[in-house]
């Protein structure tokens, strides 16, 4: 049984959520409580499969699954020299992203069980399709398969963003999101077509081996990097982020963070493994660093001026993506230079920030959703004095705000410390900008805390109650993990993050798993 899971686990990780997505409407016809039980079962089995696979990848090396072959490890059958089937390849960086996505998956799903009041079956169908596509983006080893999963993710998430269709704001936000996403995916498809036309192979490891950086390849590189940066929410291309994250139901906002991080995974995979030997890698890394610094700064200054809670948190999500781009961009910059040790620490900080961001940003979106669920009000000018009636939500919000601002014993401080110290060696200005952005982040969260939770009690909120248990469980789960990751940062760093960073830098191991 363990052997079966070990061999076929990657395909099961993508296939099982898809199967659940199609079974849920059928089960809903029988009874509603059976549907809820099945949803819990599906979430827990997907997460346990994901954790099992991640653990076996960290212990035994990259896992390969060839679709349609007689044996899953048979990548090049009958003496061919290039792999011809679609190959799912998961190395340590993919395992790291699998861990991060499954944590957010549990929290988001359990929260939604409590907060979505009608059409729960349709919601969870789309939710499982989205999670299957995210695992697909993370585990695939084939460029066109990456494009297909990115498109599935954008369609499913656009459907979920527009879920509350009694207000037209969600629908126009989803419309904008879908158009921007499909333009990005079409540009990605264009560059995949150029790469295929040049080299005749679509497998990422094979392209990494054969690539020669001719004149047309530069065009492909630029289109691929900009298309993926648009899907992540990097700054001059970020305009869809506040609308889409701000108007989605709260469980989905927490999960959209994971979808953006999956595109960030695709960006890093393409930059390090495919174009690692590019002679202009410094220009590419400079582009990523510039995008990162702009995202951090513009995100946080726009966030200070907002009045709507979820839009404010969406701008913060963009600014935290800037930290990840900065950290890993510095790692990319220093690939073959004498500063590569410092670059390794910067990359470790950026990658650690990915998993921390999924946790604390998810927690903050869930608490904002709890406020909106309890009071029905999204405008900060009209909220006040909620800490008397909702004490648990206040505590979870305080932990989340401390984590995002980088206050000590939370995990936000650990990853930001790595990024500050490593950025200082490259250029002190990067470190100064990162510190100023941290201060502004703290300022805007103090603003939300004081205006929403502290202060005198308002008349219209005299009768509000605390939110349902399921939402509390999800928020408590994330808070406990944040504090644990903060108290034992080096355990997490040595077990998950540093293998991921070295796997990303070592593209030969990636190619060696296929050939």
């Amino acid at each position: 049984m363990i052997d079966f899971l070990h061999q076929n686990g990657l395909a099961l990780l993508i296939a099982f959520p898809l199967l659940s997505a199609f079974l849920i409407p059928l089960i809903e016809k029988i009874s509603k409580s059976l549907r809820n039980i099945y949803i819990l079962f599906a979430v827990f089995s997907t997460t346990s499969l994901a954790m099992f696979l991640a653990q076996s990848i960290f212990a035994f090396g990259p896992l390969v699954y060839t679709m349609g072959a007689q044996h899953p490890g048979l990548t090049m059958p009958s003496g061919l020299t290039i792999p011809v089937r679609i190959i799912l390849l998961a190395d340590a960086f993919s395992a790291f992203m699998i861990v991060s996505s499954s944590i957010a998956l549990i929290a988001s799903a359990i929260y939604s069980l409590g907060s979505v009041k009608r059409s729960l079956g349709k919601y969870f169908s789309l939710f499982f399709v989205m999670s299957a596509s995210i695992f697909g983006i993370i585990c695939t080893g084939d460029l066109f398969n990456l494009f297909v999963f990115i498109e599935i993710c954008s369609i499913a998430s656009a459907g979920l963003v527009a879920f509350r269709k009694e207000k037209a704001e969600s629908t126009i936000a989803a419309y904008n999101y879908l158009i921007v996403s499909s333009i990005a995916s079409l540009m990605i498809l264009f560059s995949i077509g150029i790469i295929y036309g040049q080299y005749g192979v679509l497998n990422m490891a094979a392209v990494a081996k054969l690539i020669k950086f001719s004149f047309v390849d530069n065009f492909a590189i630029v289109l691929l990097v900009s298309g993926l940066a648009l899907k992540c929410g990097a700054v001059p291309l970020h305009f869809w982020v506040p609308d889409a994250y701000g108007r989605a139901p709260s469980g989905i906002s927490a999960f959209l963070v994971v979808a953006s991080q999956a595109s960030l995974y695709a960006l890093f995979r393409v930059s390090f493994t495919l174009f690692g030997a590019f002679f202009l890698i410094k220009l590419l890394s400079l582009a990523i660093i510039v995008l990162g610094v702009l995202s951090m700064f513009v995100g946080v200054t726009m966030a200070l001026a907002q009045k709507d809670i979820k839009k404010l948190m969406a701008y913060h999500s963009m600014s935290q993506t800037g930290y990840m781009l900065l950290g890993v961009g510095l790692g990319l910059y220093s690939i073959n230079t004498p500063l590569s040790d410092v670059g390794f620490f910067a990359m470790a900080g950026g990658l650690f920030h990915i998993i921390n961001n999924a946790m604390y940003k998810g927690l903050l979106f869930l608490t904002a959703g709890a406020i909106i669920y309890a009071t029905g009000q999204r405008d900060l000018n009209k909220l006040g004095g909620l800490a008397r009636k909702m004490p648990y939500t206040t505590i979870f919000f305080m932990i989340g705000a401390a984590a995002i601002a980088g206050l000590p014993p939370t995990n936000g401080f650990a990853s930001k410390l790595l990024i500050y110290e490593s950025a200082f060696i490259f250029n002190p200005i990067l470190s100064i900008v990162a510190l100023i952005v941290s201060v502004f982040t703290l300022v805007s969260f103090v603003k939300i805390f004081c205006s929403a939770f502290l202060g005198p009690e308002r008349n219209e909120f005299k009768n509000i109650k605390e939110v349902p248990c399921a939402m509390h469980f999800a928020m408590a789960f994330l808070s406990v993990l944040i504090i644990l990751f903060g108290i034992f940062p080096d355990l997490i760093l040595n077990a998950i993050v540093k293998p991921a960073a070295s796997a990303l830098l070592n593209s030969l191991a990636y190619m060696g798993a296929v050939f």
Binding site: F144, V148, E151, S154, I155, A158, G159, A162, K165, K167, A168, E169, T171, I172, A174, Y175, L178, I179, S182, I183, L186, L189, F190, G193, Y196, G197, L202, D243
Partner: protein
């Protein structure tokens, strides 16, 4: 493809923007099929007309880009359907299809 970008950047009607995305998708599909062309190639199916007497194997057009194009056509079908259904829902709520008027009607800042 440039016509599609012109439609998305300069037109304000929701449906015209969706049509622009569809035009860009058609352009890229044509590009994908054109990649697989081989000079004097035939359809990539093993028929008896393709294997002439005295030749071991005929020259065929590449079949993989055709598979990629079919997948891409299906995906753009789903995306266009979803975009048009969003446009229908927005029209029911705000009775207009112009994005500037929608922005004013809903007070999105």
């Amino acid at each position: 493809m440039l016509i599609g970008f012109y439609a998305i950047i300069f037109r304000r009607n929701l449906i015209k923007i969706a049509m622009g995305v569809s035009i860009i998708a058609s352009g890229i599909n044509l590009f994908l099929i054109a990649i697989g062309y081989r000079h004097e190639g035939v359809v990539p199916i093993f028929t008896s007309a393709a294997i002439k007497a005295g030749e071991a194997q005929a020259k065929m057009v590449l079949p993989v880009p055709q598979a990629l194009t079919l997948t891409s056509i299906v995906i753009s079908l789903a995306v266009t359907a979803l975009m048009l259904s969003f446009a229908v829902v927005i029209y029911k709520k705000t009775n207009t299809l112009d994005i500037k008027e929608i922005k004013e009607a809903l007070n999105i800042d």
